[in-house]
């Protein structure tokens, strides 16, 4: 006799099992309809394989498992699918879920099904093959939780003990008892299959409570010559709890939060063993189960082999159900079962009992009294918890204390509520608290994520701010340097040449970049176009066959691609505008103009300025500004008079000799140089562009390859698409390389546009030189003052805007405005000093 350990705690409620074992397992006539929920197990709901109106055969797979933790569902009989919709399912919450409604045709026509070849033993098959058969037979734990059996039978750790749970400790339920009495041989065969799949554990134990001697006697002859041991232990609820049974049979405890497999144990229900035998030997899926129909509100108490999906009302109708005497309709036993609110709810794979309790059996519970901490609950608790303390903290929502008191080790067996003299629904308090704590934990994860996001954003902004500050600092230093240089240059008589050089340099810089930019933009446009094309195509295919969500995504992608293309085109247009129409002619004309024309122009410009200044004076409210403007106006007028004088004095036939030969020479020199440069670079772009294209393409190919490899490794469905993309890129690269070779051997035509940028920059520089050359020192100062004034005005407007918006840049703007003000004052002072 094998040693058994005592159950910790526990209670011994009236068994009430004798009522339903008087008659053998019965079979009911086919119901009018069967309702088969897609999710009768723990895990992902099965994926539908049939449609409304389909005729299905008995045992046909109606929905297949999706993902690892899932099992399929099968047609319990042949018939027609009449509906697939939300239907109330057996669940404590009374919720509805997607279910298939099947109208039986009464023919019981089986689908083709075979088990293992009878000439071989199941041991000739690999455990993996057998597991696959179990998975496709839709077998989920029949004990109550409904965990997919195939998953439970492929543990990650070595299994030393297989325990078959035949305890059936809940009062009233006799489904396993009757199954063992009548189908003992099949059960033992099933257990042997389970043992084989698990790699032949050292011990295989069938644990039975000692109140089922008939079942034990029925099993005994079949286990005699096997390594299977039958173990009886005292009847005490909840000995059939997985953790409790393990403790009773092995003396070991499943670690908190762990699985039995962690200590080398797998537990399977006796009904599951039977279902496994049917699946392996005959290829029959799980389409029926033994269910006890009991309770005093039913005239007949009996076990039936019930088709999955049979409405409970059908069961009750055949057992003389007295609606008026029924206080509660319970699915499962009186300790852990849940009440049903709708008798149309179907029997599912985990339905071991329908208890129609009479008013006498389950009277309406009296109101609960205060907890007197009598501790009877603690004595009954099989997990050695302190239910009275848990209740205390559950009432005050003290989650920390609840967790310290190991609330989550509560198996909700109901022993504490059963013994509570104050009628407190303790288990309900624990369920509610567990729910609260789980919800809080989820919310905490959410808020942690949000916080992390916020902190990252803050850090990024700070970084950006720092980068900006560094840039500002650099700009400031550059400005100071420039100032110092200008001061130095101011002493040199030939400063104008330097300016031209600098301008040339700048021009050279900006001249290469537009070409490059252009090339890049063109490439971008081409890419955007092709991308748009691809996504549009995809959208079309999805429109035909994809889900709504996919369509939505594709549409968004098309939008995005279009926007990008537009962006690229607009940028290109901007670039063209900036570089496309240079005003070289004007400048050249001006440079080459004779003194007369120069003077005439000067007069015209002076007149214009005077007009503008007058307007400004009229518009201005500021007294000091008015005064400054008036003095400027006077000077302009003096200048105008001078110019007119000079023009009058100019001989009519004066040859077009330059006024300031020196300056013009320098400028001409610079122009020559810049033009030479432009000419040199003008030839480059086509080749250069191509070269850059090649480099860019190579980079993209590299990336595409990496992606492809990754997709292949992850067995992604996009492998083909990626492959095609890579090939396209390679073609493009080949093209570009060929073109490049062609260009290298034969100089390309001059690209007109690319030269324009250079000439425009040159022209601008020349114009400035000319202006400077013709300007007196006083004029320069005056111009500085004007420009400073306008800048100051702009800065003030910006500052006002910033203040109105309470922008963070207010301070920096204010400093900038103040600086401008200082510089303006200085310039004005200089101007005043210059004028004796």
């Amino acid at each position: 006799m094998r040693k058994v350990w005592d159950l910790i705690g526990g209670v011994h409620p009236p068994e009430n099992k004798h009522q339903s074992v008087q008659l053998p397992i019965g079979v009911l006539p086919l119901p009018e309809k069967l309702v088969i929920p897609l999710n009768q197990h723990i895990g992902a709901p099965a994926k539908l394989l049939v449609a409304t109106g389909d005729r299905v055969l008995k045992g046909q797979e109606l929905a297949e498992p999706t993902g690892l933790v899932s099992v399929g569902v099968h047609a319990p009989t042949s018939g027609t699918i009449s509906d697939i919709s939300e239907y109330p399912i057996p669940h404590p919450s009374g919720m509805a879920a997607r279910s298939i409604t099947l109208i039986p045709d009464g023919q019981e026509q089986w689908v083709d099904h075979v088990g293992i070849d009878t000439t071989y033993s199941f041991q000739d098959y690999s455990p993996a093959k057998l597991l696959e058969m179990i998975r496709h037979a839709g077998i989920a734990g029949l004990g109550g939780a409904g965990f997919p059996s195939a998953v439970k039978l492929s543990p990650r750790k070595a299994i030393t003990t297989l325990i078959i749970n035949a305890s059936e400790c809940e009062p009233y339920i006799t489904a396993d008892d009757m199954l063992m009495r009548e189908r003992a041989e099949a059960i033992v065969e099933g257990v042997q299959i389970l043992s084989y799949i698990l790699g032949g554990p050292e011990e295989v134990l069938i644990g039975i409570e000692d109140n089922k001697p008939e079942a034990r006697a029925a099993l005994e002859p079949f286990v005699r010559d096997t390594h299977i041991q039958l173990v009886s232990f005292p009847t005490r609820y909840p000995s059939g709890g997985e953790k409790q049974l393990i403790q009773i049979l092995t003396g070991r405890e499943v670690p908190s939060g762990g699985l039995p497999a962690d200590i080398g144990i797998v537990c399977q229900n006796v009904g599951t063993a039977f279902a496994v035998q049917k699946a392996i030997y005959f290829g029959e899926p799980l389409i029926s189960r033994i269910t006890t129909v009991t309770g005093r509100a039913c005239a007949t108490n009996r076990n039936y082999e019930v088709l999955i999906g049979t409405p409970i009302a059908h069961l009750l109708a055949h057992n003389g159900f007295d609606e008026h005497d029924c206080s509660r309709l319970i699915m499962g036993g009186p300790m852990m079962g849940f009440t049903l609110t709708d008798p149309d709810i179907p029997v599912i794979k985990t339905t071991n009992c329908i208890l129609a309790a009479s008013r006498e059996e389950s009277p309406t519970p009296p109101p609960s009294q205060p907890c007197i901490r009598c501790g009877m609950c603690a004595e009954a608790c099989p997990a050695s918890l302190l239910p009275q303390q848990l209740f205390w903290y559950a009432q005050s929502h003290n989650h920390e204390r609840l967790e310290a008191h190991n609330l989550f080790d509560c198996i909700e067996c109901g022993a504490c509520s059963y013994v509570c003299p104050s009628n407190i629904p303790l288990v309900q308090y624990y369920r509610a608290s567990k729910g609260e704590i789980r919800k809080q934990a989820q919310e905490k994860i959410k808020s942690d994520r949000a916080r992390a996001r916020f902190e990252f954003q803050k850090a990024r902004k700070e970084q950006e701010e720092m980068a900006k500050a560094a840039k500002r600092e650099a700009r400031k230093q550059a400005a100071e340097q420039a100032k110092a240089m200008t001061a130095e240059r101011g002493n040199k008589p030939q400063g104008s040449e330097d300016i031209v050089k600098a301008a040339m340099a700048r021009a050279a810089e900006s001249q290469t970049s537009p070409a490059e930019q252009q090339a890049r933009l063109e490439r971008g446009i081409a890419r955007a176009e092709s991308h748009l094309h691809t996504v549009e195509k995809r959208l079309e295919t999805i429109r035909e066959e994809g889900s709504e969500q996919q369509q939505e995504q594709a549409r968004a992608a098309v939008e995005d691609a279009r926007r990008r293309l537009e962006d690229a085109r607009r940028k290109r247009a901007q670039l063209d505008e900036a570089t496309g129409s240079p005003d070289t002619d004007k400048v050249m004309a001006r440079l080459q103009a004779g003194p007369r024309e120069t003077l005439e122009k000067k007069i015209a410009s002076c007149k214009e300025r005077i007009a503008v200044t007058r307007q400004k004076i009229a518009d201005s409210d500021d007294e000091t500004l008015k005064a400054a403007l008036t003095s400027g106006l006077e000077k302009q007028q003096a200048k105008l008079a001078d110019a007119q004088q000079a023009l009058a004095e100019l001989p009519d036939n004066t040859p077009d000799t330059p006024v300031t030969r020196e300056t013009t020479d320098a400028a001409a020199n610079a122009i020559a140089q810049a033009q030479a440069r432009a000419a040199a670079t003008r030839d480059l772009p086509a080749e250069e562009k191509l070269r850059q294209t090649v480099v860019a393409l190579e980079g993209r190919i590299e990336k595409a390859r990496a992606k492809l490899d990754e997709a292949r490794a992850g067995e992604s469905e996009y492998v083909n698409a990626l492959q095609a993309g890579l090939e396209k890129l390679q073609d493009k690269l080949l093209d570009a390389q060929q073109q490049l070779n062609a260009i290298a051997t034969q100089p390309s035509a001059v690209d007109d546009d690319s030269g324009d940028a250079a000439s425009s920059a040159i022209a601008r520089a020349q114009a400035r030189v000319a202006e400077l050359a013709s300007m007196s020192e006083e004029d320069k100062l005056r111009e500085t003052v004007t420009s400073l004034k306008s800048r100051l005005e702009k800065a003030r407007i910006k500052l006002r805007e910033a203040e109105a918006e309470r922008s963070e840049h207010v301070d920096s703007l204010r400093t900038a405005a103040e600086k401008l003000q200082v510089r303006l004052t200085e310039a004005e002072q200089q101007l005043a000093e210059y004028h004796p």
């Binding site: 009236p14 403790q247 908190s256 852990m336 519970p365 009294q369 007197i372 050695s384 310290a404």
Partner: protein
């Protein structure tokens, strides 16, 4: 069909709080009989008086708190408090002592803290201690046990007892019947060996083990306690720990029965309120420690405190003080004595945040 939505479990024991309280009341009967046999009708009068005051107070409070009065009276908890206090008070104590003690126990010690299940201190013992401190004269006047009466003299009859309790004129006062208790005798003993004392003092010489009358009262309560243990109203941990630690202390300080001895373990077990305390007072679940391990500590420390206060204190008995002091400590004990939960390597602390 209208089907109720009730969560599991759907089965329930017939046991109720009221029936538990009824069992406790039932279990006091042997002790009460012994008290009545040896000390007259006083205890019964105490119980009746205290019981009616308690029920009245309870009903008044429930009415004030706007709760269903009959529902709460039905739990019998006020009655238990009253009976325990009535048993602890000296028989033939004046009526106003009983009334003050009971109303204090119910109104202040129980309902001011939130009523049944929320009181941190044992209400009966709070009532007892309040009386002992306020009215030491009345509280130390114990009638002599029956064997000590001279030939031909008998304790007062029921009516006479009522007259004494209510202070009606025409009968002798209680002083005429009082005598020292075994604990008093032992404390006042300064020159005699224990053996001599047992020989000379009729209180001991007329007794079988530990003190005339007292030993039977304690045995009565022990019997009742065993009945409650058998009915699983409480666990053995608290009472056994208390009795064991009290005996151990007594044995340690027995001093071979010298004149400085504090009495034998048997004398301590069967004197004063030892058994009443062990099985009826410290087993009050509301104010005691929660876990079995906690109750062991709780009971053991009460035993030690009883011995200390009896031996070196100046009160006639120590159960009430010891219990109240340990009521203070119960939450602390609870914090460190959580049972080891299934699947855990060791027990946790109640205030622990993470395992």
């Amino acid at each position: 069909m209208a089907l109720l939505k009730i969560t599991s479990p759907h089965a329930h024991t017939a046991q109720s709080t009221a029936s538990v309280m009824r069992l406790v009341l039932l279990a006091t009967i042997p002790g009460l009989i012994a008290l009545t046999l040896f000390f007259g009708w006083g205890s019964l009068i105490n119980i009746l008086l205290a019981g009616s005051v308690a029920v009245f107070c309870e009903a008044a409070v429930m009415h004030l708190r706007k709760r269903p009065v009959m529902f709460y009276l039905g739990d019998n908890s006020a009655l238990v408090t009253a009976v325990l206090l009535g048993l602890a008070l000296p028989p033939l104590a004046p009526w106003w002592v009983v009334v003050i003690g009971t109303s204090f126990a119910i109104l202040i010690a129980k309902h001011l803290y939130g009523g049944l299940g929320y009181n941190p201190f044992n209400p009966a013992m709070v009532g007892y201690v309040v009386l002992l401190i306020s009215f030491p004269v009345q509280m130390t006047a114990w009638p002599a046990p029956l064997p000590l009466y001279a030939e031909g003299v008998s304790p007062p009859e029921f009516l006479a007892s009522l007259q004494i309790v209510f202070g009606l004129p025409g009968v002798e006062t209680v002083d005429a019947f009082t005598a020292a208790t075994p604990l008093d005798t032992l404390r006042q003993n300064s020159g005699l060996l224990i053996a001599q004392l047992y020989e000379q003092d009729p209180l001991f010489s007329l007794a079988r083990w530990a003190g005339a009358g007292w030993e039977w009262v304690n045995l009565g309560f022990l019997l009742g306690g065993c009945f409650l243990l058998y009915r699983r109203v409480f666990t053995w941990h608290g009472p056994v720990a208390m009795l064991a630690s009290l005996s151990l202390c007594a044995a340690l300080f027995y001093d071979g029965g010298s004149s400085a001895s504090h009495g034998s373990p048997l004398m301590h077990l069967l004197s004063g309120g030892t058994m009443l305390g062990a099985f009826f007072i410290l087993t009050d679940p509301v104010s005691s420690a929660t876990s079995n391990r906690g109750r062991l500590i709780f009971g053991a420390l009460i035993g030690v405190l009883i011995f200390i206060i009896r031996s070196w204190g100046s009160y006639p008995d120590a159960v009430a003080f010891a219990v109240l002091l340990m009521n203070f400590a119960a939450p602390l004990i609870d914090n460190y004595t959580l049972p080891r939960t299934y699947g855990h390597k060791k027990s946790r602390r109640a205030t622990e945040k993470k395992e």
